[in-house]
Structure formats: structure tokens, C-alpha cells
Amino acid sequence: MAKVLVVTSGKGGVGKTTTTAALGGALAQMGNKVAVVDFDVGLRNLDLIMGAERRVVYDLINVVQGDAKLSQALIRDKRIDGLFLLPASQTRDKDALTDEGVERVIGELKAQFDWVICDSPAGIERGATLAMRNADVAVVVTNPEVSSVRDSDRIIGLLDAKTKKAEAGERMEKHLLITRYDQARAERGEMLKIDDVLEILSVPLIGVVPESEEVLRASNVGTPVTILSPQSAPGRAYQDAARRLAGEVIQMVIPGERRGLMTRLFGRRAA
């Protein structure tokens, strides 16, 4: 049974698109057939992060409006088998998307894929609500910083109110992914700690992705970080998150805490 996953955050620039690409790459590497769908109509980025910007012919709006078939618009990833991209349109705006059209396209994707990952635009308006509307699972991306956390809280409220699952009286499955985390800065009080974020949002944690040069490099070369450098800290964090989404139970590793343990050990030895 296909699962529709929405990657959302409320605030912009926290790493929704990076997360969509990385989770898509990781789930595909695990042998799933995955479609990543860019809902950020007018400000599309997922094609760049996936390195497919030169292969876009048709887009989501063409398919929603019936100008193109889904198979014509889907772009197959050259590096990983089973990974496909449905790009957004850069020239149109979100009003071109209709509720019924989006539902039909998501339905078609569900028939062909194991995972459909929707990359939500920032904000809480129509584009974001359309992206989450048909989802079964949500990954809420948050930076350890107050404005991002508050916006995520707002989005979680919308997930519980405006999705089809919520309207049918079912419980929306939500997971929290903290990105750009820096243990040292959190300990100095320059960043919120993981526990603080969890306490405020009260949503189960699915992963903590450390702040890393590797993520920026992956974006710039147009490859999901899970494909470019699967052994890096962010690559591993995303892979673990993907496994947890698939139902595996893996112990949570907070990046940087091992160093903390080492210093504690050394400290004890010195004393």
C-alpha cells in the first residue's frame, strides 16, 4: 500500500526541499519505488536539488490540468533506480492547482509507487494546505530556533485540521525532523536543545540532522545528500529517519553527543 508523505515546516529555509530529496533518495536506496513531488509552484527548487533541472518538460500543473500525462511529466533519476521526480512549474502560481486535480494526480501516483513524497512550500496558505491535504504521514522539519519551532507548531495544528485524514476523524501520523542542529551551540544556549523543541511541539522525533558542509555541497552539485555521501553524518541521519518511516526501530543518535561522551570519559580519567 502506497504511503503519501508530506514534508512541511511553515517557515521557509529550514530544509524542506533538502529533506524531501534526501528521504526520497534513502527510501529508494532501500528498494522502494519513490516519487518526489514539488508543490512549490512558482518557486520550484526540488528539480535543482535533484539535479534534474535540465530535463524538465512537463510539470505538476500540466498534469493537474490534463495537458500532459503523468508518465510524460515524471523524471527518472539517473543514479538510483526507482526514484522519480514530478517537478513544479516555475511560471505559474498556486491558483492553477485545484483540489480535485491534485487528488487525482496523487491517486495515480499511489497506484504506481510505494512512497509519494510531497515537498510543501513555506507558509500556511493554499500551496501548503494542498500539499498536505492528501497525506497519510507528515514530516515536520524544524530548526532548533524559536521562530521555526512556533511556525512548526502552527503547521502541526493545520495537519490536525485541514488534511483529509483529520477531516475523516482519523489521527494524522506526524514526525519531527530537526535539521541544522549544532550540539556545541545548543550547549552554549545559542540554540534550542532537542528536549526543548520536543517539549514545545510534543511530536515524536524521527531524526536529528546536524549542521554540515556536506548538505550545502550536495545541494550545489544537485544530488540528494543520502546519495552523494551516505556515510556522512547528515547522510546517516537521513537514512535512519527513512528507516524509521518504514517502521524500523533504530536507536536515536543525537549528533555531537558522542564527542560529549568522550570528553566526559577523558575528564573522568584526568580526575
Binding site: 524559536v146 512556533r150 507548531d153 502552527r154 502541526i156 495544528g157 493545520l158 517539549e199 514545545i200
Partner: protein, 270 residues
Amino acid sequence: MTIAVRPSVPVRIRGRSYLALVLTPEAPLDAWFHGLDNLAEKAPGFFRRRPVVVDASRAATNRAELKALMATFGARGIRVVGLDGVQPSWAAPELPPIFVGGRDGADPTLVADPADADGGAPIDAASAPAAPAAERTPVPAAPAGAPPAELAPPTATAAASQTSLVIAEPVRSGMSVFHPTGDVTVIGSVASGAEIVAGGSIHVYGALRGRAMAGCAGLAGARIFCRRMEAELLAIDGLYRTAEDIPPELEGRPAQAWLEHDLMRFSALG
């Protein structure tokens, strides 16, 4: 050329809800007013110093009839501060302001004002101050269309909570909980940017990071309780305090807030 410089005085405008009696005259009006006179005889001064709103939906079909109705109330010394159930186009300077969006409040108990037991003179309706035009807040109306027949013992007129609302999950940013008829209990946290408005008290078994407004229908005895005080704004009966005014030593601790002589007081709990 000289320019007179006047110091600008900030004008403070506040919205506040008040409890008013609502009278709904019905045809035949003669019989209805006779019943009203009987009631006034049993409880002398019942209408004295009480704001009365007239719901004229069953007694007037045009502005002339409405004016005649107001004159009949005026002759009995009943001051009418507002009108309900009338066409907005009937508004006139000599008529009381028109209210919209009223909500039913607690039933009033029919108590004779002790000050009037010795037969206080009825108030001349013409001297009654008109309600300020800026008063746009809904007046929670007490249904008095069918007044209780017997005299109740003198007790507090504003009944406390009628119903309670229990929310068993966190209140997220951007959510607004509006419950004007009683207490609100939240089992979980109230996020920054969320808002709870209650007619009675507010209880938060978690962190209160958003806004809490208790006693919104004019209940000064309402209180706000929370397990972790990190509120953006607290209000009781229209009186508010922002985060800056909350004692810093209470931050992050279990605390309560209440009103004492129109002053908000805070204390730690437990």
C-alpha cells in the same frame, strides 16, 4: 506665523463585555407591559441601575413603532441602553444604539435592591446616560423574557461557570479556543501564538506560552492557573498584562493570576 502645539494625549479604547438584562416585549403590548408593571411592583427598583437591552423583534415593525415602544419604557423609568432584533436602518440619534452578536449569559436572580426598599424614586429615563457609541463589544445578554416569578434570596447575580470545556491535547500556535460560558481546562500546553478565551477560569496542565483571557463575559472572580507560566498575555475581565508585567521569578513555574480591586495579582503554586 505661529502654530499652537498641543500635547497629544493618548486616547485609550478598550473593548469590554457587560451583562445586561434583555426584555422582549410581545404583542399584545398592553398585556405585556401590565405584566412588567406587576413584576416591578413585586421587586421594587429591580430595573434601577441595571442596563436593559430591548429585543424589539416581536414588538416593532418600523422605526415609528420602535420610538413609541421606547417612550413606553421611558415612562416607567426603565433605561434602555441598547436595542436588539431591529433593522440597522432604523438607527436614529434619539434611539439607543443597536447591538449585534449578543450571547446568552447567566439567568439573573430577581432581587429587590435593598436601597430601594424604602421606595426610591424611579429614575427619569431622559437623564440616563446613553451607552457610548464606541461600545461595539457584544453584550452577553441575560434572557429575562420570562422572568422568574418568585423572589430569590440575595446571592451573587453573576452565576459562575455553566459548562466546562476540556481540551485533551496541546493547543497549537494560531489556534483560538473561545468558550464564553464557562471554564476551559487544557491537558497539555498552550503554544506561543495560541489563544484561550473563557467566560470562567482557565486551567492549563502544561506550559502556558500563548494568551489566556479569563472571565471574558465580565467575571472578575475568574482566575488563570498553569503548570508553567510563560504566557504572552494574561487577561481577566478585560484587564490585561503582557509578558513584561508578569513577575520574572514566576517564569517557568506553576503559577496563578487573579484580580484584586482591578489589579492583577500573581502567585506561585505548590
